[in-house]
């Protein structure tokens, strides 16, 4: 079954094409079911391919298949092919699995939307692009998938484009991603220039990884940093993270699918895929680790002060991906993947839970207008709480193991960054507890008028089963996801499965058992500290506490204002200059000047048109005389 990997791509593609052709006719809810079945089929194929892959001996688990040549030009030949190995299959499993659940959830969430079938067209195309990104066996095909998820993200963020904010959020996401994409392209050019190939693996000594000796230290660092620029765009890291919070303008299943579980991990996946290259450049990995840690911290502080339930989760996502990037920078790729998988589960359940809350509360997203939802939405409350405890790092839920793995590795390599990571863990537990308390705890506030005089909301209702089922499944995995990679198990787990991919580039955290215990206890203490502080600070009925939500954090460290000042405003001034000076004076001046010149010449020339036949005859005679004179001169002196 390992050779059937292309089926994983074909099912969502077929679903996409089918829905493009017939989606509008099928309508609500058949179109949704078609999309869900297409992705579920991909998930089933992924399971079978994974089973086939595990059946192979551990050192033969790299299956490259070229189906046809996309194009070839000179020394460059770009095949369309798949690379099935433990890394890509781990990604495929959770991408297809979580996507299938989110498709199912969307059937309920998008019910009676005007563009119901269009939504599933985009979702299926997104899953196809994501799988193409993951399964591609060369950089250029990965880039195709990379662009595909980017454009699907743009369409889906701006899905309700009648709203001005959604339309501009879509554009913002797209433009921020484009900056990263430029880095990706340059990295591809650089790697091709130095290694002469863009394929990851093509037999022994072939492919990029067999040719790495052609990359000098400086070139390797440049390639790593360019790839990392691409990753910061897609995975929303400093300095390109601002688009992700705005992307919450999209429908909540999109936020869950794209902006929490799958697409934003593409950057981390790319870095993991290129791990032999990263290994060549110590400065590059130090930059990656530092940016990851700083992003994790900054985003966590901002999440503490947000009022919008989805914005909190968005900044939490940025922060968690910061952890993954920190792990990649520390050489702990397996820890990064482990956290990525667990994060897909618990962030999936958190976003879908938030979607359930928003659905039940007539599209209200303000935490300050919720409260006591535990009495009205039991399923949502239980599943959301599991997700919350997992991300906060409370044992024995998955988040504890995954985050612990990252922090252990960081402790072993970059102790200052470990401190930042630990502080971030406290903040994570704090802001998630705040979210949980404001939404589900305390007394109801939705039955009171809003801060801007909005009318009171009706009592919330629980969501239909198509929305509850994904919540339950994801909550189950969020709870038990940790068993994939428990620290005292060393065979038949995620680590031993992934290790061949990272063979030789993986740092081992040489921590003694005692140190590991101490670090685990520190993690637990950090998580509990965050929870307790939040519970104490937000205990009363009063929810407006400006001291705990400084404007500095609410305004995202003034990061958007900073970009606005150094890029946005000068850009606008340049545009104004171009419009009123370059266009109005220079370009229009040239056009009008030409017309004026023609007019002046014409006015002068019309005087020649006397209307007297003799004048014309004179002209002819003179012309003749000149021609004859010329010919004579050629005869006599030529």
């Amino acid at each position: 079954m390992v050779h059937a990997a292309y089926l994983m791509l074909l099912f969502p593609l077929a679903g996409f094409l089918f829905l493009v052709a017939f989606g509008r006719r099928l309508g609500d809810p058949v179109a949704g079911w078609v999309g869900t079945i297409a992705v579920t089929a991909a998930f089933v194929v992924a399971c079978m391919v994974l089973a086939g892959l595990i059946g192979l001996p551990a050192d033969h688990r790299v299956v490259v298949h070229n189906y046809f040549t996309w194009f070839s030009s000179g020394g460059l030949s770009v095949p369309v092919g798949t690379l099935v190995d433990p890394l890509s299959m781990t990604m495929c499993m959770f991408v297809t699995g979580v996507s299938a659940l989110i498709h199912l959830y969307s059937i309920g969430y998008m019910k009676s939307d005007r563009d119901y079938s269009k939504f599933f067209i985009y979702l299926n195309l997104f899953v196809f692009s994501m799988l193409l990104l993951v399964l591609a066996n060369n950089l250029l095909l990965t880039f195709v998938g990379w662009e595909g998820v980017g454009v699907c993200s743009y369409w889906l963020v701006a899905f309700w484009f009648q709203r001005e904010s959604a339309a501009s959020a879509g554009k913002k996401a797209f433009i921020y991603n484009r900056i990263g994409d430029a880095g990706f392209l340059l990295a591809i050019f650089l790697i091709f220039e130095k290694t002469g190939t863009i394929q990851y693996e093509s037999g022994p000594g072939g492919g990029i990884f067999g040719q790495l000796s052609h990359l000098g230290g400086g070139t390797a660092t440049a390639a790593v940093l360019l790839l990392f620029l691409a990753a910061t765009g897609k995975s929303a890291q400093i300095p390109l993270f601002n688009w992700l919070p705005d992307a919450m303008e999209g429908p909540t299943p999109v936020s869950a699918l794209i902006h929490a579980a799958t697409m934003v991990t593409a950057g981390v996946y790319l870095l993991c895929r290129m791990n032999p290259l990263l290994h060549l450049s110590t400065p590059g990995t130090v930059v990656i680790a530092t940016i990851g840690a700083v992003t994790a911290f900054v985003a966590a502080t901002i999440a503490c002060a947000q009022q919008d339930i989805k914005k909190v989760l968005a900044f939490s996502t940025i922060s968690q991906i910061g952890y993954m990037v920190l792990a990649v920078g520390s050489g702990a790729y397996i820890a990064a993947i482990f956290l990525m998988v667990c994060h897909a589960f618990f962030k999936g359940v958190l976003f879908l839970g938030a979607g359930s809350v928003i659905h039940g509360l007539e599209d209200e997203q303000d935490l300050k207008r919720m409260g006591a939802l535990r009495r009205y939405m039991k399923w949502t409350t239980v599943t959301f709480t599991i997700g919350y405890l997992a991300i906060a790092g409370i044992p024995p839920l998955s988040g504890f193991w995954a985050k612990g793995d990252v922090l252990d590795n960081t402790f072993a390599h970059y102790k200052p960054l470990w401190v930042i990571g630990l502080v971030t863990a406290v903040l994570t537990a704090y802001y998630m507890s705040r979210l949980e308390i404001l939404a589900f705890g305390g007394e109801p506030r939705f039955d009171q008028p809003g801060p801007h005089g909005e009318p009171p909301l009706h009592a919330p209702h629980e969501s239909p089963w198509v929305m509850r089922l994904p919540l339950v499944v994801l909550a189950f995995f969020a709870f038990f996801g940790g068993v994939l990679d428990l620290p005292w198990v060393h065979t038949h787990n995620l680590e031993s499965f992934l290790a061949p991919v990272f063979n030789g580039t993986l740092y081992n955290d040489n921590l003694a058992g005692g140190a590991e215990w101490a670090l685990a206890l520190t993690d637990i203490a950090a998580a509990l500290a965050g929870v307790i502080v939040a519970a104490w600070l937000w205990r009363g009925a009063e929810v407006d506490k400006p001291a705990l939500e400084p404007a500095f954090l609410q305004r995202v460290w003034y990061w958007d204002d900073f970009y606005d000042t150094i890029i946005g405003r000068p850009g606008q001034r340049l545009a104004t200059f171009c419009a009123w000076v370059v266009d109005a004076r220079v370009i229009d001046g040239a056009v009008n000047g030409t017309a004026h010149l023609v007019k002046v010449t014409g006015t002068a020339a019309r005087k020649l048109q006397t209307g007297y036949a003799r004048n014309y005859a004179l002209g002819i005679a003179l012309g003749m005389a000149l021609i004859i004179a010329f010919m004579l001169s050629r005869t006599w002196w030529g």
């Binding site: 020339a605 019309r606 005087k607 020649l608 048109q609 006397t610 209307g611 007297y612 036949a613 003799r614 005859a617 004179l618 005679a621």
Partner: protein, 101 residues
């Protein structure tokens, strides 16, 4: 005695020049027509002269074509002049300046 070809050519040049200058300086359309005829016939004389000098009958053949064209031209031209005179009561070329720019 026979004159050399140069004399004929000289005569043709003089006749042509009289015709050309006449065309330029006279205002009466009919006179201008006569001038054109002068120029055509000067050209004919040249053709015949060269035909004799080069022993080539082709030059004399062309003269017949020119005569035919000149006859046709006069028919059309005089037709225009007569029509124009009926409409405007003038045969002065300078009065026909409605194409003035």
């Amino acid at each position: 005695m026979s004159l050399s070809g140069a004399w004929y050519l000289g005569l043709a040049a003089i006749v042509f020049t009289i015709g050309a200058i006449g065309l330029l300086v006279r205002r009466n359309v009919l006179i201008m027509f006569m001038c054109i005829e002068l120029m055509l016939n000067a050209a004919n004389l040249t053709f015949v002269t060269f035909a004799r000098m080069l022993h080539d009958i082709g030059g004399q053949a062309v003269v017949f074509f020119v005569l035919v064209v000149a006859a046709a031209e006069v028919v059309v031209g005089l037709g225009i002049v007569v029509t124009n005179f009926r409409r405007r009561s003038t045969t002065v070329a300078d009065d026909l300046d409605s194409l003035k720019g």
